[in-house]
């Protein structure tokens, strides 16, 4: 009997997914998409990117994984946003959705929008609805990405020069061959590894730090407006990490870009970011300026995260540890996802998932505990 219900459940999931896949494929095949469908207006013209209730779901055979479920935050022009969270909290999926790199039809945007302020065309577009042809003009040109693992992000059988020049000539077809090469050397100089013969080197001939610099150089080829850095220093040693962070900081000022920095390292975020977004199980639990988050953390998860990381020069006998594990992303409960691990639960926690409450102009948190406090003040 039990086996049969299991079978029936799997069957219904498959059926549900098939419908979703079909819809997706139909959408992808459309030839002409009217401009009105993806044109939009920014809530604030000063922002470069606005996430508005973004939901990205993966329709897998085991059920629907709500990897990103209602994420909203803004990236102001020229600012650095740090997105923090543990593995599986949806931070990487958020960035992939922004870049239009979701693996469809399994991964799909189920709702919400990402509004991008396209200054070059003087318009605002919704990246989740943008047709492929239009997206190609933005991806790499205006929004570029630095990937986590520099060894896998570079192709081992082509030289650094080949890979950089390919990227440049694709995005700037008007350049001649020697101009492309000159541009490649220019970006390599920007990241500080220009030297004789570097264009003829293969990735394996470079160290981890240099490879990461090449990956960064590639992202800088077309003077992007927004750089998405997905764990750019996780695979590197601390001394090299310090070099790369220093480089990113200087570059940001040089080319006047915004950075969306995705990481799990609170130290890196504290050092780099102006604004911080803390994610947990696909939702934003707290967001605010670096000052808000690090000096007045409000959500129990943020507080726990800070306490569980030992600090240099700090003497404690026992580390605080958040009990339990991250919940299974399939069939998430109705109530707050952090409830089962939270030590300061109140009665209201049994209810629906708490809304984001503003504690101050910049500081927002989604917790019943803080809603009360905000009401009292």
């Amino acid at each position: 009997m039990d086996k049969n219900t299991q079978k029936a459940r799997l069957k219904s999931i498959k059926k549900f997914n098939a419908v979703k896949y079909k819809e997706y494929n139909k959408k992808q095949r459309r030839k002409r998409i009217p401009e009105s469908e993806y044109m939009t207006t920014m809530a604030d013209d000063h922002n470069i990117l606005e996430f508005d209730n973004l939901r990205t779901y993966f329709y897998t055979d085991a059920g629907t994984v709500k990897a990103v479920d209602g994420v909203s935050f803004q990236i102001p022009r020229g600012a650095t946003i740090g997105v923090v969270g543990e593995s599986g909290c949806g931070k990487s999926v958020t960035s992939l959705t922004t870049m239009g790199l979701l693996a469809g039809p399994t991964g799909q945007v189920a709702g919400g929008s990402i509004r991008y302020n396209q200054k070059s065309q003087n318009r605002a577009v919704d990246l989740t609805k943008l047709p492929r042809k239009e997206f190609e003009k933005i991806r790499g040109n205006e929004i570029s990405m630095i990937f986590q693992e520099p060894m896998t992000a570079l192709n081992p059988v082509f030289t650094i020069g080949d890979q950089l020049c390919e990227c440049i000539s694709l995005h700037m077809p008007e350049l001649k061959k020697d101009e492309v090469e000159a541009r490649a050397l220019e970006v390599l100089e920007l990241v500080g590894i220009k030297r004789e013969g570097i264009l003829n080197n293969y990735p394996h001939e470079l160290s981890g730090g240099m490879r990461q610099r090449v990956v960064i150089a590639m992202a800088l080829c077309c003077d992007p407006q927004l750089i998405i850095a997905d764990e750019p220093t996780t695979a590197l040693d601390v001394t090299i990490q310090a070099q790369i962070l220093d480089l990113l900081r200087n570059l940001k000022d040089k080319i006047n870009a915004s950075i969306m920095l995705i990481t799990h390292d609170l130290g890196v975020v504290a050092e780099m970011a102006d604004y911080v977004v803390v994610m947990y199980a696909g939702r934003v639990v707290e967001q605010g300026t670096a000052e808000d988050i690090f000096h007045h953390p409000a959500h129990p998860y943020t507080i726990g995260l800070m306490k569980s990381k030992p600090m240099l020069g700090e003497k404690i006998d026992r580390l605080y540890s958040i009990p339990g594990n991250v919940p299974n992303p399939i069939n998430l409960p109705e109530h707050c996802y952090f409830k089962n691990r939270c030590e300061s639960c109140v009665e209201a926690c049994e209810g629906l998932y708490p809304e984001l409450v503003s504690l101050s102009k910049t500081h927002k948190v989604s917790c019943y505990l803080c809603g009360k406090k905000g009401g009292e003040n």
């Binding site: 601390v238 001394t239 310090a242 070099q243 962070l245 799990h264 569980s308 030992p310």
Partner: protein
């Protein structure tokens, strides 16, 4: 006064990996992974080993347990010289020295249930009698925070933190006195890291374990260690008690390494010592002091003569020309 007991004594340990080339596989050089390292660990203490990737920390850990044969030097564990023991006599000594590996995803056999993973070596070494076997495994699992019904489950059913607990249980089941922990928390999330570190500290207190804790995360090492060694290109640059090293780092490399750690406080002032360039290749290390190519305080003598180990008092040993013996 009774002399303090050292569980691990390492003297002038060297491990060179030969580089071979050509059809005849002629030796054309050697990678000096561990180059003349000496240190001691007291009973019940934790020795933290830090350094960048490729500096030979893992090789040192494995050479101590003779998972890799050392080229030169001696390692004494519980007073027994491990380097001169014959291979077949090594087996009965193994239970007293265990290892916890870095990646809990690849260090567990996916086809073995948890009980078997933990119990295989227990049975093999005859730690307990057959009748007590199952109870013993359950007891070890309980100590490591694993539920009894996990015993028949397979590794893929567990999260990273749980798997690392299984790895710890596997090592503990043999009642070791010395455990080499090779980056045991690097692959885990911050909140899970704290759980595992607390568990390791509790077990150490309970069982008087001695740890060699290898990690590149300085804040974790500071938290768990009693004394610390800083490695660079196979050489131990500085050793000493945790208080000495963190309050008063002497070697320029240690100073640079500590200043590179990002601090989770946006107001923190950054007076960072940025190291230029990368680690040189251990196959062709620089002459003289190995760090002189990246050192800010480099003097003429640094590129000529390799510095001696100098005792700056209180067991704080540093290899640098900037300092003289106290």
């Amino acid at each position: 006064m009774a002399e303090e007991k050292y569980v691990v004594e390492v003297d002038h340990l060297k491990k060179y990996f030969p580089i071979k080339s050509g059809i005849l596989q002629k030796e054309i050089g050697a990678v000096r992974a561990v180059d003349d390292v000496s240190f001691r660990i007291k009973e019940g203490e934790t020795f933290g080993l830090v350094g960048e990737s490729g500096c030979g920390k893992s090789t040192l850990g494995r050479t101590l347990l003779r998972l890799i044969e050392p080229t030169e030097g001696t390692v004494k564990i519980n007073g027994i010289d491990m380097t001169s023991v014959k291979k077949k006599d090594l087996r009965p000594l193994r239970p007293s020295m265990q290892m916890i590996f870095q990646d809990p995803f690849s260090s567990l056999d996916p086809r073995m249930p948890v009980g078997e993973i933990i119990g295989e070596a227990v049975r093999e070494h005859g730690i307990v009698s057959k009748s007590e076997y199952r109870d013993y495994i359950l007891k070890v699992m309980e100590d490591c925070g694993l539920r009894p019904y996990y015993i028949d489950r397979y590794p893929h059913e567990f999260s990273g933190g749980q798997r690392q607990r299984i790895c710890i249980a596997r090592a503990l089941a043999l009642n070791p006195s010395f455990i080499v922990c090779d980056e045991p928390v690097s692959a885990l999330d911050v909140s899970i890291q704290a759980q595992i570190i607390n568990l390791m500290k509790d077990l150490q207190k309970e069982r008087k374990l001695t740890y060699l804790f290898i990690s590149h995360d300085l804040s974790v090492v500071e938290h768990i260690s009693d004394s610390i060694g800083v490695m660079y290109l196979g050489t131990m640059m500085e050793t000493g008690s945790k208080e000495d090293i963190f309050a008063k780092p002497l070697h320029p490399y240690t100073q640079a390494l500590f200043s590179a750690v990002p601090v989770a406080d946006p107001d923190h002032k950054m007076d960072r010592i940025l190291l230029e360039g990368d680690i040189p290749s251990p196959a062709n290390p620089p002459k003289g002091c190995k760090f002189h190519t990246r050192c800010k305080h480099c003097m003429g003598i640094c590129s000529q003569v390799e510095p001696e180990a100098k005792d700056m008092g209180n067991g704080h040993i540093v290899k640098c020309h900037l300092y003289d013996d106290k």
